[in-house]
């Protein structure tokens, strides 16, 4: 029977056993609840509270609470993972939003209640692990305990009898036999200790060896729990030193790693020195992508994204590098990820005199898998309507492969540039950017503007193909959709990439501690901790042998181990020439 557990009542816990909270299933536990009420006073209550907090039951309840508390974050959109989801939620449930917000349901993982649970859990963990570590340190140097009087009361027990060879003393023979067992146990990794008692008036001479192994089980357990603390600290400290930033680069443009210049958004941790970001720049030479051809399964599916960059660092020659999905670029301690891509049509606007008032690669945001894209053009200066200066806003729709729906509306049928068409709605008036407040470059606020073309204005939207120029309404000038190949580009329309730039000094530490935790876990769960005894009692012309094992903790193989010990021991006794001593 291999189902063996440690709680053989015969042998009480002793100093070489691992220390456990008093309500551990294997503990002695006193009053059955494991925690005695304090006698008196403030200190007594403190001590009582501390023991409550570091008990197994509290740890368990906190673990279960942690699991439950994590769930709402998967149901309610989170500001950290899905900010747009939160905005969406607010507009759809205006009544619920303030309630949820007050309950911190949009920030579950930084909420007071979630933090309280895991902080308590880790205090409990530390309060539990430190005394255990101290104890284990001592226990590792303790000797295996005395051989119990009645080994036969253990579950895993075997006996044998050997005749004493001619001319030998039974006591010496018993001792010799145990010498062999001792050597054998030591060789298989046990710590051993001899406990021999000479013959007395009534009792025969007894030789015995007590052996213990598997201290690594407790070591593994402690390493596991301590490594969890390491993970938490690395995440916390690392978070303060970490930054993430986003940037967008069109083909032919470049990005400079400096807060004022390059980033469209930037989230630094508390301790980041934003004045001294590593000085480097990235230029986007080209962007590659492949689409599944028309007619095949998964038609139009995009893949093999690759941003070909030229990197420049002070003191280095420029280098050609490629960033792909799953293959970020390591750059001066930062990691650069390819997060998205799209088309960036080059738009030129001229006034009636033919002077250029606007010329930019405008990044259009993809709206669907066929890259129907939307972008906004804002021209603050240089144009006038009916003689009065005006600002111009355009909302553009770009169709890389334009097709007409049966409603007459345009759509994109394929993500590559098979039939690129740009349509524009035109607004004139006040862009609302004069007061200096930052505005989203991807959105237009038309509340102070009149629509001159497209939509419900009564005039058709402007429609252009690459290389085409059309007049703006009311004789304000012209607008051109530049053909990028005319400027040496590979395709008629430029593309852009969005890159995410991260520095996470904590991550390697988190990984290191996680691997340590896993190693500790495997050790703690699979190294058996067990005691073994071999006892030889000299009785006249024979020696009675007893073998016994006791598992400390889960040990499915203890019965086999005892049987194996007996077998190899007897085999070594039978081998000629084993004289011992």
């Amino acid at each position: 029977m291999s189902r063996s557990r440690s709680d053989a009542p015969v042998i009480a816990a002793d100093a070489s056993d691992p220390l456990r909270p008093s309500d551990h299933a294997d503990g002695d536990g006193g009053d059955g609840r494991g925690i005695t009420q304090p006698q008196l006073g403030f200190v007594g209550w403190l001590r009582w509270g501390w023991r409550q907090l570091t008990s197994m039951r509290t740890a368990l309840v906190l673990l279960l609470l942690l699991a439950i508390a994590a769930i709402p974050g998967s149901i309610v959109p989170q500001r950290s993972a899905d900010p747009n989801g939160v905005i969406d939620f607010e507009s759809k449930n205006p009544g619920l939003y303030p309630v949820y917000n007050a309950l911190q349901l949009f920030d579950v993982y930084s909420s007071v209640w979630f933090s309280a649970i895991y902080i308590l859990l880790f205090i409990s963990l530390i309060g539990c692990v430190i005394p255990r570590t101290k104890h284990h340190f001592k226990a590792m140097r303790a000797r295996p305990p005395r051989t119990p009087m009645r080994l036969s009361r253990l579950d895993d027990y075997a006996t044998a009898e050997r005749a004493v060879p001619e001319g030998r003393d039974a006591e010496a023979e018993a001792s010799r036999v145990i010498d062999l067992a001792q050597a054998q146990l030591r060789k298989s990794g046990y710590r051993v200790e001899r406990y021999d008692t000479p013959a007395t008036g009534k009792r025969p001479a007894i030789a015995s060896v007590s052996a213990e192994r598997g201290y690594a089980r407790e070591t593994g357990n402690l390493v596991f729990h301590a490594a969890l603390v390491g993970v938490l600290i690395s995440v916390g400290v690392g978070g303060g030193l970490t930054y993430t930033g986003q940037t967008v680069i069109a083909e032919g443009d470049s990005f400079v790693n400096s807060l004022g210049l390059g980033y469209t958004s930037f989230n630094p941790g508390r301790f980041v020195d934003t004045e001294h970001l590593p000085p480097y720049s990235l230029g986007l030479d080209s962007f590659e992508v492949s689409y599944v051809p028309v007619g095949q399964a998964g038609q139009g599916m995009a893949g093999d994204f690759a941003a070909n960059l030229t990197t420049r660092e002070p003191g280095h020659d420029p280098e050609q590098k490629t960033v792909r999905v799953n293959h970020p670029l390591d750059m001066a301690g930062d990691r650069i990820y390819l997060m998205g891509n799209g088309y960036a049509p080059t738009i030129t606007v001229r006034d009636p005199a033919g002077d250029v008032v606007f010329r930019e690669d405008v990044e259009f945001l993809p709206q669907d898998a066929n890259m129907t894209s939307q972008g906004v053009i804002k021209i603050a200066d240089g144009l006038s309507e009916d003689g009065a200066p005006t600002q111009l806003g355009l909302i553009g729709f770009f169709y890389p492969t334009a097709a007409t729906l049966h409603t007459g509306a345009l759509t994109s049928a394929y993500p590559a540039l098979a039939n690129p068409v740009l349509t524009l709605w035109v607004y004139a008036g006040d862009l609302g950017i004069n007061d200096g407040t930052a505005r989203n470059v991807y959105a237009l606020d038309p509340s102070e503007m009149t629509q001159l073309a497209g939509g419900t204005s009564g005039t058709d939207a402007l429609q252009l193909e690459p290389g085409q120029t059309v007049p703006l309404p009311d004789g304000m000038g012209t607008i051109t959709f530049e053909d990028n190949t005319a400027n040496g580009g590979a395709e008629v329309v430029k593309r852009y990439v969005s890159l995410s730039i991260h520095r996470d000094v904590g991550a390697p530490w988190v990984l290191g501690f996680a691997i340590l935790a896993l190693a500790g876990l495997v050790t703690a769960l699979f190294v058996p901790r067990r005691r073994m005894w071999v006892k030889a009692t000299a009785s006249g012309s024979s020696v009675q042998l007893e073998y016994a094992g006791l598992a400390r903790g889960e040990d499915p193989a203890i019965a086999v181990a005892v049987a194996e010990l007996k077998r190899t021991h007897e085999a070594s006794l039978d081998r000629p020439g084993t004289t011992g001593r």
């Binding site: 197994m56 994590a70 993972a81």
Partner: protein
């Protein structure tokens, strides 16, 4: 759709349905086994149990009543007819021996054998389906919900069949074949997607490692779950038997007529096949063994997933829905392992945690994949 793809993938689909049909038959065979095995076992064991009882009586007399764990030997020593609890313990001990016996030395349950043979056959078709799908797709066959379910269920069966070499867990056959039939059937009906190329984030060695290990963990959790369920049933039966005996013996003293008080056959104590299974305690140890291996695999899944996320999404952890659920499951099983070491929680309560844990695994695989929003949008469903 090009012909070459079409034919190979449709062969795969055909193999899937064949496997489903065979698993369903295996389920029926295992169910018949459960219905019949208690009778068979009772016949086969009657003799043995008689011996065991006799031994219990003598042992009780020698050692002195009370030392042994079961109250039964006390009455045995007192010379009263062996109690139902003593008989129950003897049955359970014999059953544990049978569970841990070498394959050749196991009880010959004909229907269980048929069930296992059918499961092996179904498994072969299942492997065939998986491989042809992989060839049709030109890559590893676990990159969308359909393929992941196909491979995942295959690994569940593989782990079950492997474990059979070591432990006779054929009494879980109905559960495993039933689970796999339902999951695979549902997959084939609702999740089928034609072969499309891998999307970029999935092009990673971590896909292979992460998903494979997650499936192994799921299989082990499934076995632990089933054992925990049986453990609960068995614990209830043991409780009722003890209660019945106590009621019986107090009646006997009251009436002072020991002959009339032969404990009435206990009221409904659960399915009869429980008579052929080990004690709740032994079932718990087995469940625990599978759960801890599953837990280690799950821990690895968590780490591997983070490494992959760090490459693909630029952060190792972001509380994405799928990440949240992986974490919740990890914490639940950590709780289960703790519960087993906590006084008052070992036994029935920890078994419930194992059940909750596996329910979360199934929830994560089905509901979260289909209905929750997040970055792990690999189900391939629209």
């Amino acid at each position: 759709m090009p012909d070459a793809d079409f034919s190979l993938d449709s062969v795969s689909v055909l193999l899937v349905w064949t496997a489903i049909a065979i698993y369903a038959l295996a389920f029926v065979a295992y169910a018949v086994d459960l219905a019949r095995r208690s009778d068979l076992a009772v016949k086969a064991q009657d003799v043995k149990t008689q011996d065991a009882r006799a031994q219990a009586v003598t042992a009780g007399a020698l050692v002195g009543a009370g030392a042994s764990a079961s109250g039964g030997s006390a009455s045995g020593a007192a010379g009263v007819a062996p109690s139902s609890v003593a008989q129950l313990r003897a049955e359970e001990a014999a059953a544990l021996e049978a569970v841990e016996a070498r394959p050749a030395a196991r009880p010959r349950y004909v229907w269980a054998r048929i069930g296992t043979s059918l499961t092996v056959l179904g498994f072969l078709f299942h492997v065939g389906a998986d491989i042809t799908r992989g060839i049709a797709a030109g890559r590893v066959p676990w990159s969308n919900m359909y393929e992941f379910a196909l491979t995942g269920t295959m690994l569940i069966v593989a782990v079950y069949l492997l474990v059979l070499f070591r432990y006779d867990l054929r009494f879980l056959g109905t559960f495993i074949t039933g689970l796999v039939t339902v999951l695979l059937g549902g997959t084939a009906i609702w999740f089928y997607t034609t072969v499309v190329p891998l999307s970029d984030p999935l092009k990673s060695v971590w896909l292979v490692i992460h998903v494979f290990v997650a499936s192994l963990a799921t299989a082990l959790f499934a076995l632990a779950f089933a054992l925990s369920v049986v453990q609960l049933l068995q614990a209830r039966r043991e409780r009722l038997a003890v209660a019945a005996e106590e009621a019986g013996s107090s009646e006997a003293t009251d009436a002072e007529a020991s002959t009339a008080a032969a404990p009435a056959a206990p009221a409904k104590t659960g399915p009869r096949f429980l008579r052929t299974l080990p004690s709740a305690d032994a079932l718990e140890s087995l469940a625990y063994r599978f759960a801890i291996i599953g837990f280690i695999f799950w821990t690895f899944t968590l780490i591997a997933g983070s490494i992959w996320a760090n490459d693909a999404w630029g952060r190792y952890w972001g509380f994405d829905t799928k990440e949240v659920w992986t974490f919740v499951i990890w914490v639940l099983y950590a709780g289960y392992i703790h519960a087993r070491a906590t006084r008052g929680w070992r036994g029935t309560r920890s078994a419930w945690l194992s059940i909750v844990g596996f329910s979360a695994v199934m929830f994560n695989f089905t509901i979260v994949n289909m209905f929750f929003k997040g970055l792990h949008v690999y189900s391939g469903l629209s």
